[in-house]
């Protein structure tokens, strides 16, 4: 059964008047190695889901997703100038919810000219409506040689708290490693999920060695992984982890890796964002269980 259909069916069983607010238990968190600050294991991505243009109905729906995210204990929201209108949509939601000062604002610089980076960053900041970003990342390593020094200078001046780099879908891992070894970055964002596990070989161990926080993008392969998994029954032993579905199963696998600081699933559904944050409340699998989870999915 499709996850959305199942959730809609179950919603009919909820007593009238129940607000659907998240569990009182806060989601598990992990420390950012460079500072010790703890952030929840589950964040919120905004690729495609928040790129809704000027549609007032869709923007209001995105704000409700953000409301549910914050109520469930979420903090980190990730975006980029590459994501169309996602940044102003996030900003509108933050203003509406009064969360501009409490969000962990993670954005990116994505422009081939280093000289134009500050202008783009300032435009992004205005879209978000935040005083400053918590984390700025060089998106897909585009012109990183020019942008990283500027970001590090911003951090030194107190205009930014963390600096990072990103890639996705297994691209440019060699260059990512090179930057991780040579630059004083705080975060690296890579693709990591039940099927895309290349980063376990070198990048995740290197992140632990260098004290670099890891953000995992594409936890569901933009939904394709979940669609494939939902054709199969969740294994009975998943109940040991408190998983209520494949989404939590997939997220728990990711965030249980000791090197991973946060995963950023993107969604346009309030029910799904609550479910995603629920993955950070269950029992995180140990190494043996992780191996069992990966083997089970690989065999499907």
């Amino acid at each position: 059964m499709h996850r959305r259909t199942l959730l809609q069916s179950l919603a009919g069983l909820v007593p009238a008047g129940w607000s659907g607010a998240a569990s009182a238990q806060a989601p598990a968190s992990r420390a950012i190695p460079s500072s010790g600050e703890r952030i929840p294991l589950i964040g919120l991505g905004s690729w495609i889901t928040f790129n809704v243009g000027q549609d007032p109905v869709a923007r209001a729906a995105c704000a409700e997703v953000m409301r549910a995210f914050f109520e469930a204990g979420g903090r980190l929201i990730d975006s980029s100038p590459m994501y169309g209108s996602s940044q102003p949509v996030i900003g509108q939601g933050l203003t509406k919810l009064g969360r501009s000062q409490t969000v962990f604002a993670a954005d990116k610089v994505w422009i081939s000219s280093g000289a134009k980076g500050p202008e783009q960053i300032e435009a992004s900041r205005r879209f978000w409506g935040v005083t400053r970003f918590d984390l700025l990342q060089v998106h897909n390593l585009l012109a990183w040689e020019e942008h990283l020094p500027a970001l590090l200078a911003m951090k030194a001046a107190g205009r930014l708290r963390y600096v990072g780099i990103t890639t996705s879908e297994g691209r440019r891992h060699a260059e990512i490693e090179k930057v991780m070894r040579s630059q004083p970055i705080d975060f690296v964002q890579v693709s990591y999920n039940l099927l895309d596990r290349e980063v376990e070989q070198r990048i995740l161990p290197l992140a632990q060695e260098r004290g670099i926080a890891v953000i995992a993008n594409r936890p569901f392969r933009e939904g394709a992984l979940l669609r494939d998994l939902q054709r199969h029954r969740l294994p009975g032993w998943a109940a040991e982890l408190g998983c209520d579905g494949w989404a939590q199963f997939a997220l728990q696998f990711i965030v249980s890796h000791p090197a991973v600081t946060c995963a950023i699933p993107a969604t346009s559904s309030v029910a799904h964002v609550r479910q995603n944050l629920g993955a950070a409340r269950g029992t995180l699998p140990d190494a043996a269980m992780r191996a069992r989870m990966a083997a089970h999915v690989a065999a499907l």
């Binding site: 495609i48 889901t49 790129n51 809704v52 243009g53 000027q54 549609d55 109905v57 869709a58 590459m82 994501y83 169309g84 209108s85 879908e169 297994g170 691209r171 440019r172 346009s268």
Partner: protein, 235 residues
């Protein structure tokens, strides 16, 4: 862009199908009730072209040029660019196409005698293409009206170009390239979103290209001895 070979078309799709559909719904909402009036105008122009009226080719080309200019601004620059950073480039291309068509009209155009393929494609663009989504269950509010939305307009432009005999035959090629290019881009976008009518654009493009090659004379002067003056009924 390093490792370019690892990128798929879906990597460049920045929005969901729902957002794409809402784009047209909100666009139509802002224009209503202009759409049926524009359609009536084009049905009249189609009739005039079919009857071979002398003024029809030039007037149709000018009106179509205005449509490309409108879409460049009202659709690409004002709306599509919100969700697709490539739309700013599309706006420039559509504006350029408006100038190209205007130039063709100013230089002079007439209608080819063998106009049936072009007329058919134009008729399809006006009457049927806008409703492809509805045929697959989408609401009528999302219709992509000819002369107001890019896809149907590009298809109809190919139909017009097939049936036109411009005074400056070489000048029609850039207009062909822009219209065919949009068919490719939009077809790829629709295909990546998994929309069932995605093939309509490339099929229309191939049909127009076939008609231009086989059904009408090439616009680069392969018709030896043709002396018809632009603006007069074809002989």
């Amino acid at each position: 862009m390093t490792e370019w070979w690892t990128y798929r078309p879906s990597d460049f799709l920045l929005f969901s199908p729902r957002t794409y559909h809402r784009l047209f719904e909100l666009y139509n909402e802002s224009l209503w009730p202009v759409q049926p009036l524009v359609t009536l105008l084009w049905l009249a122009l189609l009739f005039a072209l079919w009857r071979g009226l002398a003024w029809a080719p030039r007037v149709a080309t000018v009106v179509l040029a205005a449509s490309w200019a409108w879409i460049a601004w009202a659709f690409h620059a004002e709306r599509y660019a919100d969700i697709n950073w490539a739309a700013s480039g599309f706006a420039v291309a559509f504006a350029a196409q408006a100038l190209l068509l205007l130039g063709l009209a100013v230089a002079g155009v007439s209608r080819e005698p063998a106009a049936r393929p072009g007329l058919s494609l134009l008729a399809w663009a006006i009457c049927a293409h806008p409703w492809l989504g509805m045929a697959f269950g989408r609401p009528w509010r999302e219709a992509e009206w000819f002369a107001l939305a890019p896809d149907a307009t590009a298809v109809g432009t190919l139909g017009l170009l097939v049936m036109l005999r411009p005074a400056w035959r070489w000048a029609a090629w850039p207009a062909w390239i822009v219209a065919l290019g949009w068919c490719a881009i939009s077809g790829a976008t629709l295909w990546t979103m998994g929309l069932p009518w995605a093939l309509a654009m490339p099929v229309a493009a191939l049909g127009a290209a076939w008609a231009a090659r086989h059904g009408a004379k090439l616009k680069i002067g392969l018709r030896a001895g043709a002396q018809t003056r632009p603006g007069l009924p074809p002989t």
